[in-house]
C-alpha cells in the first residue's frame, strides 16, 4: 500500500475522551457519520486505533503504527485482516485516499 488517507469528504468525526466518561483510560472510541444525514457509527478499540492510524501517515507504515498504538509487535497483527478492515472503511467512504 502507498499514499495515505483522510476522512471522507462528507464525514464528521468526534473523538471521545474516555476520561470524560468516568471510565478511566478506557478503550478509545471514535464516532463517525456521513453528513448531513447520518447515521452515527461508533468505532471502538482496535477499530478506532486503525481509523486514527490511517489518518496519521503513509499507508506503507500502517501496520507498524497500529501495532505501536496497540502495544504489540507488528508481526502479531494479521496483515490480511488489517487490509480488509481498511478496504471496508474505504468502501463505506469513511476514509478516502489522499492525493499523492
Amino acid at each position: 500500500m502507498s499514499g495515505s488517507w483522510r476522512p471522507g469528504a462528507d464525514v464528521g468525526v468526534v473523538h471521545e475522551d474516555p476520561l470524560r466518561q468516568g471510565s478511566g483510560a478506557g478503550e478509545p472510541t471514535i464516532y463517525v457519520a456521513h453528513l448531513p444525514d447520518g447515521p452515527i457509527q461508533v468505532l471502538q478499540g482496535p477499530a478506532a486505533v486503525i481509523f486514527t492510524a490511517c489518518l496519521l501517515g503513509e499507508a506503507g507504515e500502517l501496520q507498524r503504527r497500529v501495532a505501536d498504538a496497540l502495544g504489540v509487535p507488528a508481526d502479531d497483527l494479521d496483515a490480511e485482516v488489517l487490509a480488509e478492515f481498511v478496504t471496508e472503511m474505504e468502501h463505506s467512504r469513511l476514509i478516502t485516499r489522499a492525493p499523492v
Partner: protein
C-alpha cells in the same frame, strides 16, 4: 466492519448536530454562526450541559435555511412565532442529531441584518465534529453568554460573568464587550445584567427584559410584547395573536398532537388562566 449504530452520548450528538447544520448551510449558501454549547468556551456554557445545537442564521437567509432543513430531514418542533415571546428562535429535531435551536436573532441583540453583519464580519473559525464552522468573536461570545443567562433568569450568573470582564488583564474585558454592545443594540440587556435595567425605562427593549427577568404572569408577558412593538401595525399584530393558541406548546404539554377540541378548549382556557394569575397576584399583594 466492527462498527455499530449506537445511542451516543448527548454531547457527541450535539457536536454532530452543529456539523450537520453547517453542511446544510454550506449547500444552501447560507451564513451561519454557531453559538453556545461546544461553540463557546467551557466557562460560558450553560450549567448542566446543553441539550441542543444552537445556531444564529443571517436573518435575510432564514427562510431559505429553514426550507433546506425541512428537505434534509429536520422537523419543526416550534416555529419562530410560537417558540418564544420575542420570536427569536425555532426548534427543530432530526432523528440522528436530536434538537437544534435556529435563532434568527438573539434576544437582547438587534434583530436587524446590520447586527448580523457585524458579528459575521469579525467571525472566527473553528471545527466541530471535524467540520469548519464560524463562531462570533470571543467578546461576542461573552456578550451572548451574559444575555443568555439573563433570559433564562440566571441573573446572578449573568452579573458574575459581566463582573468578571472588569479584570483589565483578562483576555476579554468590559471594554471589548462594550464596544460591541452599542453596535449590536444590546444596551438594555447588558445594563440589565449589571442590575441597571431601570436606567433604560423608556427603551423599546425595556419591557421585554423586565418581563423576562421579573415577569411572573402571561398577562405581563403580553403587555411587554405590546409595549415593545415598534409600530402601530406591530402592536395590532400582537393584539391579534394574543388569543391564539400556541399549538406547539400545547402539543408539548399534552404529549401528542392536539385535536380540534383540545385547541378550542385551550382557546377559552388561556384568558381564564391569565385573569386567574392576575387575581392571584393581586391577592398576594394585598395580603402582604
Amino acid at each position: 466492519m466492527s462498527s455499530t449504530v449506537v445511542e451516543v452520548p448527548p454531547p457527541v450528538r450535539i457536536l454532530f448536530g452543529h456539523a450537520a447544520l453547517q453542511v446544510v448551510a454550506d449547500a444552501a449558501g447560507v451564513d451561519l454562526l454557531h453559538i453556545k454549547g461546544p461553540a463557546t468556551e467551557p466557562e460560558l456554557r450553560s450549567p448542566g450541559g446543553g441539550t441542543d445545537a444552537d445556531v444564529l442564521v443571517r436573518p435575510s437567509q432564514c427562510v431559505r435555511f429553514v426550507d433546506e432543513l425541512s428537505a434534509r430531514g429536520w422537523s419543526a418542533r416550534s416555529t419562530f412565532l410560537s417558540g418564544s415571546d420575542v420570536g427569536h428562535a425555532a426548534t427543530f429535531w432530526h432523528p440522528q442529531w436530536g434538537y437544534a435551536d435556529v435563532h434568527r436573532f438573539f434576544q437582547g441583540i438587534s434583530p436587524k441584518e446590520a447586527a448580523f453583519d457585524i458579528l459575521w464580519a469579525h467571525r472566527e473559525m473553528t471545527e466541530l465534529a471535524g467540520v469548519a464552522v464560524a463562531v462570533p468573536t470571543s467578546a461576542a461570545r461573552h456578550l451572548i453568554a451574559v444575555l443568555n443567562a439573563l433570559r433564562n433568569r440566571r441573573t446572578e450568573e449573568a452579573a458574575r460573568m459581566a463582573a468578571a470582564l472588569q479584570d483589565p488583564q483578562g483576555r476579554v474585558t468590559t471594554q471589548h464587550v462594550e464596544a460591541l454592545v452599542a453596535a449590536l443594540g444590546a444596551e438594555v440587556g447588558w445594563a440589565a445584567a449589571q442590575g441597571r435595567l431601570e436606567e433604560h425605562r423608556g427603551a423599546a427593549d425595556y419591557w421585554p427584559w423586565r418581563a423576562t427577568i421579573y415577569g411572573t404572569s402571561r398577562m405581563e408577558s403580553w403587555v411587554a410584547r405590546l409595549l415593545s412593538a415598534p409600530r402601530l401595525r406591530d402592536k395590532a399584530l400582537v393584539l391579534l395573536r394574543a388569543p391564539l393558541v400556541n399549538i406547539d406548546h400545547l402539543a408539548h404539554v399534552l404529549g401528542r398532537r392536539p385535536t380540534v377540541r383540545d385547541v378550542v378548549v385551550e382557546f377559552f382556557e388561556r384568558p381564564r388562566r391569565g385573569l386567574a394569575e392576575e387575581w392571584q397576584r393581586h391577592r398576594t399583594r394585598t395580603d402582604t
